[in-house]
Amino acid sequence: MLLFLQTTINGLVLGGIYSLAAVGFSLIFGVIGIVNLTHGIFVIAGAYMAMALFAAAGVDPLLAIPLIGAVLFAVGYAYQRTIIDWAISRASVEASLVVTFGMAMVFRNLLQLWFGPDVQTITPSYSFDSVAIGPIRVDMVRLAALGASMALLTGLTLMLARTHFGRAMRAVAQQPLAASLSGLNVRRIHGLTFGVSAALAGASGAIIGIVQPFSASSEVAWTLNAFIVVVLGGIGSPAGALAGGLVLGLINAYTATYVSPALTQAMMFLVLVLMLLLRPQGILGAAYGESR
């Protein structure tokens, strides 16, 4: 029973991080309708930036999130306005899949040249502390990571629901043509969506850096995770990402504890395929489903 509770807690904590790492991917999928295979790169880039800041100036990765987010927001915006926009307008949405795959390779190579191919970790001062809730122990880093993830997801939800920009984003997602007729600059909104997505991915990267080891080649795994989370939870909304992320985290934790740590990826993938076959719209359904 204790093991089950501990596993559940671990899974939920992991799930919170998965949710944050996937929410940007979900946003782009929902609003622009493309699958961004560069997403994992933004996650890992965030982790590397946090590592560099921690090594150079001793900045805590969680406090570095605003800076990392700002830099990646600019990168994401520029990336969409140039390469992604060219790919969509000149070729097709499927071509954009290949373009983002190609760009992921370019970026991965750059990260490898810059930081080397080794597996890295970030160890802040509180790495080895843990909190006890009764007989259950939770690592301090994981708790901090979960707290930061939830704060950012809440922020995004509020932004989508309450601000002008959030409303504009939802309008563009539902009906690009109608949105542009109402005076919204659709291309600019697309660029900003990419920026927000990259910033959130970078923030999740900083958090992942203190919880798990990472390297440039782990970007594929994070892109795949994001895809699985979105398929599980439903496209386009923070709530869907949260649901999908928590389910994925639980699957991961239960499989590692009760089946075998070697089979977590296989189990996650099995659930993905079952989900695609049985309920392709995800647990919560697509946020902008009617329009697509």
Binding site: I83, A87, L97, G102, A104, V106, L224, V231, V273
Partner: protein, 321 residues
């Protein structure tokens, strides 16, 4: 092109391929050997990705399964000696890769476009992880295949001819598929699957057949590739860059064309192995940048570049409108 001329060209190509190793250094023979292997995988990928429009981002799974199956076949039934000894294990590699495709085809081919592409990426990752972590498959410690090269022959020459023959096989099969009813059904699926189905094309069956055929060919290639390595572990055959190469070669040469994948492979391998051999650490970047450039500048690939270059398209648009 008239038929006699085409046959003459084919014969000339065959003779040139047969004689070329006499004039080349072992290094260049090895480059060509890899070219034949890579081009053949791209031709096989093209049967599913190019003709039917189902882009698999994880086709390396068949290379890995082919190599692993050949090695395990040898462990169970004994390795044969000499070139004849590799025939059965290689066939087993192809058969098991095809069987695996048959098993996953039914659920996966219900997905379309991006979903199928990424599901295959996942299949590649998961099978690699299983092969690496489950002790039964021995992917972590590695597997051996005995050298089938006959005495007195240089290994690179042996594999040069082996892969050249397999490339020819893939091209013949791809050609036969393209001009058959099967091929037309695949094209119909690529252009508009729902309409094709409505018009009575058995889309499900054709898609599965294309997937299994493609995987079987890649499995055969993977098994021979395993032999050419001699000793391999999971990461040496389940390679993400192999998956990518198949897409990229087909894309650069001209997706859905017979010779496009071969031309793409020739161009890209020449570029990376010969011109840029001094910059090994940026190969990934060059490949990625080329893919992006090709998609943006000529989405139809080199064989169709005439019609799709941006300025040509603009001219056409002006002429028609």
């Amino acid at each position: 092109m008239t038929r006699p001329l085409a046959l003459l060209l084919l014969a000339a190509a065959a003779v040139a391929t047969a004689l070329l190793p006499q004039a080349l250094s072992p290094f260049h023979i090895r480059v060509l050997q890899f070219f034949f292997f890579a081009a053949a995988t791209a031709v096989a990928w093209n049967i599913l990705g190019g003709y039917a429009g189902y882009w698999s981002f994880g086709h390396t799974v068949s290379i890995g399964i082919g190599a692993f199956s050949a090695a395990h076949f040898g462990l169970i039934f004994g390795h044969g000696a000499g070139p004849a000894g590799m025939i059965l294990p290689v066939l087993a590699g192809g058969a098991i890769a095809g069987l695996f495709a048959l098993v996953i085809a039914y659920p996966l081919l219900r997905l379309r476009g991006t979903y199928f592409a990424i599901a295959m990426l996942g299949v590649g990752q998961v099978v690699a992880e299983l092969a690496n972590n489950l002790p039964v498959f021995q992917g972590g410690i590695g597997l051996f295949l005995p050298s089938p090269v006959p005495d007195g022959m240089a290994p690179e020459r042996f594999y040069y001819y082996a892969f050249a023959a397999l490339l020819a096989l893939c091209l013949v099969i791809s050609w036969a598929v393209k001009r058959s009813k099967f091929g037309y059904a695949l094209l119909a699926i690529r252009e508009d699957e729902d309409t094709a189905q409505m018009l009575g094309v058995a889309t499900e069956r054709y898609k599965i057949a294309a997937f299994v055929l493609s995987a079987t060919l890649v499995g055969l290639l993977g098994a021979v590739y395993g032999y050419s390595l001699g000793y391999f572990t999971t990461p040496s055959v389940f390679r993400l860059d192999f998956s990518l190469n198949m897409i990229v070669f087909a894309l650069i040469g001209g997706i859905g064309t017979l010779f496009g994948p071969v031309i793409g492979a020739a161009l890209l391998l020449f570029l990376t192995n010969v011109l840029l051999s001094g910059f090994l650490d940026i190969h990934l970047m060059i490949t990625g940048a080329l893919v992006v450039a090709v998609i943006l500048l000529m989405p139809g690939g080199i064989l169709r570049a005439g019609a799709t270059l941006p300025w040509k398209r603009r001219a056409k648009k002006e002429a028609s409108g």
